[in-house]
C-alpha cells in the first residue's frame, strides 16, 4: 500500500504536528523517565543499557544532561592509534583503522564528544579512498579534540588539516594555477550551502587558499611564494584575503549560521526542522560566538528535543545502529567483521561515498540496507561474545517464563515501544503457540528461542528509529 501524499502540505520527513516556536528552545521542565533517558542516550550518545538508563533516571534531568555535556569521569583507556605494525600492512591497515575508530565509539566515557566527532566526520566527509589511514586518524583526533569547541576555529583547523589538504587537493592550489576544489566545497558543503555564494566567490576563495600546502612530512605549511597576495572580492568584501579571512567572513554570514544549525537540528532532533526553529538556534549560535557546546547544549535541554514529535523521529544511522546494538547486547569489543556490515548497511566508516558524506535520512533505508541490519543482529545474538545471554535474560526475568522474558527484552531494548500485536507475535514465538508442534519455552530450547526473540525485537521498526 502506498499513501498518496500529493495533497499533503507536509514536505520532507518532518514529524507531523506543530511547533511552538516561542518555547521550543526553552528549557524542558517536564518529567524525566526511562523513555526520556533512553531518548537522550540515543541522540547524545550511542544508546544505553537498561542499567545505564536507570542510572540516568536516578540523576534526574539536569544531572543526566550534565553527564553528557560535562562528563566528570575520565575518558576510558582507549587505543591512541591503530597498531603501528598494522598501519604499514597494505592489506590490514584500512580495516584496522576502521576498527580503531569504532572501538572508541563503543567504549567511550564521553559519548557526546564521540557523537559530535561522528557528526564532523560526516560533515567534513573525508575518505581513505584517497587519504592515508594515518592522516585519517589524525583528522578524527582533530574532530574529537574540537568536537564541542568553536566552529570558526574548527573550520580553520580543517582547512589546514593534512587529510583535507589531500582529500580536496588544496595542496596543489598555487597562485599560478588555482585549484578550486576546497574553495568550492567549504562553501557548498561545509559552511554555507548551495545558492549562497557565486562562482566568482569560489574563484576568490580559491585564490585566498593558494599556498596552503603540505610539506614533505605531510604537515601543513604556508608557502608564501605560492600564495596569491592580490585583492579578492569575496561575499561582498574586498581585501588581500587569505584562508583565515575566508573562514572569518564565512562564519559571519547569517546563511552560515542557519546552515550549521539546521544540520545540528537534523542530527539531534528531527528531519526538516521548521525555519523558525532553525532561526532560533542560529541566534543562540551567533550570540555564543560559534560555540558548538552551547549550541548543542541548548538543543539537548530544550522542549522540542523532549517533545513527542522528536521521539523516535529519526532513522538510526548504521553506525548508531551497530554501536547501540553492541552496547545493549553487552559486547566489550567491536567484532572484526563490523566494517563489512557497516558497508552493507550503507555507511562505510572512514570511506564516505563522496565529499558530500552520507545522504542519510530516508536513504539509510533500502531493502539491501535493512537486510544488512537484520542479518547483523541475527549474527550478533548467536555470537560467543554476547554478554546479554539467554541465561542472563532468564535470570533478569526471574525464571524461565516466556511472558517475563519477553517483557525484559522489550523493556530493555525498546522501552516498551511495541504494539500489543507485536508483543503477541513475540510471545507466540517464545511459546510456539502457532507452530505445528507446540513447544513451550523450556530448558531444552531456551537458548535458541531467546536468542531468536532478542533478534526479532531488535529487528522491529521501532529499533531502527533513534
Amino acid at each position: 500500500m502506498h499513501l498518496d501524499t500529493s495533497t499533503d502540505p507536509q514536505v520532507g520527513y518532518r514529524p507531523p504536528g506543530t511547533l511552538d516556536a516561542g518555547s521550543a528552545l526553552q528549557r524542558y521542565r517536564g518529567p524525566f523517565g526511562k523513555r526520556h533517558a533512553a531518548h537522550l542516550a540515543r541522540r547524545a550518545g550511542f544508546g544505553a543499557t537498561p542499567a545505564e538508563v536507570d542510572a540516568l533516571v536516578a540523576r534526574g534531568l539536569d544531572g543526566a544532561l550534565d553527564a553528557y555535556l560535562h562528563p566528570a569521569e575520565a575518558e576510558a583507556a582507549l587505543p591512541e592509534y591503530p597498531d603501528a605494525a598494522v598501519l604499514y600492512d597494505n592489506k590490514k591497515k584500512y580495516q584496522a583503522t576502521k576498527l580503531w575508530y569504532l572501538e572508541r565509539m563503543l567504549r567511550t566515557k564521553h559519548p557526546l564528544a564521540e557523537k559530535m566527532t561522528l557528526f564532523w566526520h560526516g560533515h567534513f566527509a573525508t575518505s581513505m579512498a584517497k587519504v592515508p589511514p594515518q592522516l585519517m586518524v589524525q583528522q578524527i583526533d582533530l574532530f574529537r579534540a574540537r568536537a564541542l569547541g568553536n566552529f570558526r576555529a574548527l573550520l580553520l583547523a580543517v582547512s589546514q588539516d593534512p587529510a583535507m589538504l589531500i582529500w580536496l587537493d588544496n595542496r596543489f592550489n598555487v597562485a599560478a594555477h588555482p585549484n578550486e576544489n576546497y574553495a568550492r566545497e567549504i562553501m557548498e558543503l561545509f559552511a554555507l550551502g548551495l545558492g549562497n555564494y557565486s562562482e566568482d566567490d569560489v574563484k576568490a576563495a580559491a585564490r585566498a587558499f593558494t599556498g596552503w600546502m603540505l610539506d614533505k612530512n605531510a604537515r601543513f605549511v604556508y608557502n608564501e611564494k605560492a600564495h596569491d597576495q592580490g585583492l579578492k572580492t569575496f561575499l561582498g568584501r574586498t581585501g588581500p584575503f587569505n584562508g583565515e579571512d575566508v573562514v572569518a567572513v564565512i562564519v559571519e554570514q547569517p546563511v552560515h549560521q542557519r546552515f550549521i544549525c539546521r544540520k545540528l537540528l537534523e542530527y539531534f532532533v528531527y528531519s526538516d526542522p521548521e525555519p523558525e526553529l532553525v532561526d532560533g538556534l542560529a541566534a543562540v549560535y551567533a550570540l555564543s560566538g560559534y560555540d558548538v557546546a552551547k549550541t548543542v547544549g541548548t538543543i539537548l535541554r530544550s522542549n522540542v528535543f523532549f517533545s513527542p514529535r522528536a521521539y523516535r523521529a529519526l532513522p538510526k544511522s548504521p553506525v548508531e545502529f551497530a554501536i547501540g546494538t553492541l552496547r545493549y547486547l553487552g559486547f566489550t569489543a567491536v567484532p572484526d567483521d563490523m566494517p563489512y556490515w557497516l558497508s552493507r548497511m550503507g555507511q562505510d566508516i572512514l570511506q564516505p561515498p563522496s565529499v558530500k558524506g552520507w545522504d542519510g535520512g530516508p536513504l539509510w533505508i533500502s531493502t539491501a540496507t535493512l537486510l544488512a541490519r537484520f542479518n547483523l543482529v541475527n549474527k550478533l545474538v548467536g555470537s560467543p561474545a554476547l554478554a546479554l545471554t539467554p541465561d542472563s535474560l532468564v535470570a533478569a526475568a526471574g525464571g524461565m517464563n516466556a511472558e517475563n522474558v519477553l517483557e525484559t527484552i522489550v523493556a530493555g531494548a525498546l522501552q516498551d515501544d511495541v504494539t500489543s500485536d507485536v508483543r503477541q507475535t513475540l510471545r507466540d514465538f517464545l511459546d510456539s503457540k502457532n507452530a505445528a508442534v507446540p513447544v513451550p519455552l523450556g530448558p531444552e530450547n531456551y537458548q535458541t528461542k531467546i536468542r531468536g526473540a532478542l533478534a526479532l525485537a531488535l529487528n522491529l521498526p521501532a529499533n531502527q528509529l533513534a
Partner: protein
C-alpha cells in the same frame, strides 16, 4: 512510494538550497499507468544505466586527437595521437577502452557527442540530481526512471517488485518513484533474511512486519514498507536466478561483479526492465591519467564480459546499456595533472539493438563558455529516445516536450 518521494524536496530544501523552497513545485500524481506510445519497441527490452560517478572527463574518453587545441590545453594529461584508438579522422577512444572498441567495430556502440544541458551545474550533488531527475531548472521528487516505472502496468498481484533494480546499497534519485519501491541489491548473498537453521525466527519476522502499523514518524512507514519488500523479495530473487549459469569469466572488480548479477537478473524471468549500476571515483582533480585510465579499463572489460554473457543467453539484442556522468571536465588541465569540474561530455549507448556509430556534434575546443565546452545534444533528447524507441513509453510526461530523438536505436 509516497514517503520516498518526499525526500528530494526535503533534502534540497534543507541542505542544498539552504532554506525552505518558495513555491516548491509538486508533480501531479499519476494514479494510473498511461498507455504505451505507439511504436515497435519490443516489450522484452531492458535498459541498463551505468553511472560514471564523480564527473568523467569526456575529452580523455573520446579524444579529439586531430585538434591542436586539445594537445595545447592538456600538455601533461593528453593522450597522444599515436595512442588513440581512432574512430574517424577526428576522434578516437582512450586506449583503456580497447575492449569497448571491439564492440564498436561490431556496430554495437553508439557514441553521442557533447551531451549536456543549458546553464550547467558544476556541483557533484546538484548535477547528479539534475541528470537523475531530468529536471535542470527546478527540484523534483522523482527520478526519470522512477517516473517510467510508475507508468508500467501493474502485475496481477499488485507488485512490480523487480521491474527496476539498483545493484547497490542505496536507491539513486533516478529510481525514486511514487508508486514503486525499487529493490537495492548490494550483494546477492546479503539480499535475504538470514537466520541460519532457525526457520521459526524467519517466519516470525515476516509476521511481525506484515502486521506492523504505521506510527507517528514518517520514517516508520518507510521502514515497514521497505522491510516487507526485503523480507519477501530476497527469497523470490534467489529462487528465480538459481538456475542461471554462464561460461563467461568476469573480472573480479566490484563493477564487473555487479554487471554479472545484472545479466543473471535480466536472464531470469523477473520482469526486469531497468537495471542501475554505478562505478565511481571519476573526480580526477589530480593525477588524472592513471586514475581515469584504470576506471575506463574496469568499465570496458566488464561491459564486454557482460555482452558475451548476454549473447550466450540470447539476450544481447534486448539489452541496451547507456552511460551517464554528472558532468564532463574543464578543457584545460590544472596544475595537479588533473581537471576540474566542467560541462558537456560524450555518452555511450551499447548493445545488439543499437545502430552503432557517431551521433551529434563534437563541441569546439576554442569556442568555449567560461573555459567549458558548449553542449550540442540535450541529455533529455537521449532519455526521450530511449523511453520512446526502446522502452515504448511516451517521453513527454517523463522528461518534458521538445527533445528530438537521436536515432541510435
Amino acid at each position: 512510494m509516497a514517503s520516498r518521494r518526499r525526500f528530494i524536496s526535503g533534502s534540497l530544501g534543507a541542505v542544498a538550497l539552504g532554506g525552505a523552497l518558495p513555491g516548491f513545485v509538486r508533480e501531479a500524481a499519476f494514479a494510473q499507468a498511461l498507455p504505451a506510445a505507439a511504436g515497435t519497441a519490443d516489450p522484452a527490452n531492458v535498459l541498463v544505466v551505468v553511472q560514471l560517478a564523480g564527473g568523467n572527463d569526456g575529452l580523455n574518453t573520446v579524444i579529439p586527437y586531430s585538434d591542436d587545441a586539445y594537445h595545447k590545453a592538456r600538455p601533461t594529461i593528453r593522450v597522444t595521437a599515436t595512442n588513440v584508438l581512432k574512430l574517424d579522422d577526428r576522434v578516437g577512444f582512450n586506449p583503456a577502452l580497447a575492449p569497448l572498441n571491439e564492440l564498436y567495430k561490431d556496430g554495437q556502440v553508439a557514441l553521442i557527442h557533447g551531451v549536456g544541458y543549458p546553464n550547467p551545474n558544476r556541483s557533484h550533488f546538484e548535477a547528479t540530481q539534475i541528470w537523475e531527475t531530468a529536471s535542470p531548472t527546478r527540484p523534483v521528487s522523482t527520478g526519470w526512471l522512477g517516473r517510467y516505472l510508475d507508468r508500467l502496468e501493474r502485475n496481477p498481484d499488485g507488485t512490480n517488485s523487480f521491474a527496476g533494480v539498483t545493484l547497490g546499497d542505496t536507491v539513486p534519485a533516478a529510481l525514486l518513484a511514487q508508486h514503486v519501491d525499487v529493490p537495492a541489491i548490494g550483494a546477492l548473498n546479503a539480499f535475504q533474511y538470514n537466520t541460519g537453521k532457525d526457520a521459526a525466527s524467519k517466519a516470525a519476522a515476516g509476521t511481525l512486519y506484515d502486521g506492523a502499523r504505521p506510527g507517528q514518524s514518517p520514517y516508520l512507514q518507510l521502514i515497514e514498507d521497505t522491510a516487507r519488500a526485503a523480507l519477501h523479495g530476497g527469497d523470490l530473487l534467489r529462487g528465480k536466478i538459481a538456475g542461471y549459469k554462464t561460461s563467461v569469466v568476469y573480472p573480479g572488480d566490484a563493477f564487473a561483479q555487479q554487471l554479472q548479477l545484472a545479466a543473471r537478473i535480466i536472464g531470469s524471468d523477473l520482469g526486469t526492465r531497468i537495471v542501475f549500476v554505478s562505478i565511481g571515483s571519476f573526480d580526477t582533480h589530480a593525477g588524472q591519467r592513471s586514475q581515469q585510465d584504470k576506471l575506463l579499463g574496469f568499465f570496458s572489460k566488464a561491459l564486454v564480459a557482460f555482452y558475451k554473457d548476454l549473447a550466450e543467453h540470447g539476450n544481447a539484442r534486448r539489452v541496451l546499456t547507456m552511460t551517464f556522468s554528472e558532468f564532463g571536465r574543464r578543457v584545460g588541465e590544472n596544475a595537479s595533472s588533473g581537471t576540474d569540474h566542467g560541462t558537456a561530455a560524450p555518452l555511450f549507448a551499447i548493445g545488439g539493438g543499437v545502430k552503432g556509430g557517431i551521433y551529434g556534434q563534437q563541441p569546439s575546443l576554442t569556442d568555449l563558455d567560461n573555459g567549458d565546452l558548449k553542449f550540442a545534444t540535450d541529455f533529455r533528447s537521449v532519455y526521450a529516445t530511449v523511453l520512446e524507441r526502446w522502452l515504448g513509453r511516451d517521453a513527454v510526461p517523463i522528461v518534458g516536450d521538445g527533445f528530438p530523438h537521436v536515432p541510435f536505436v
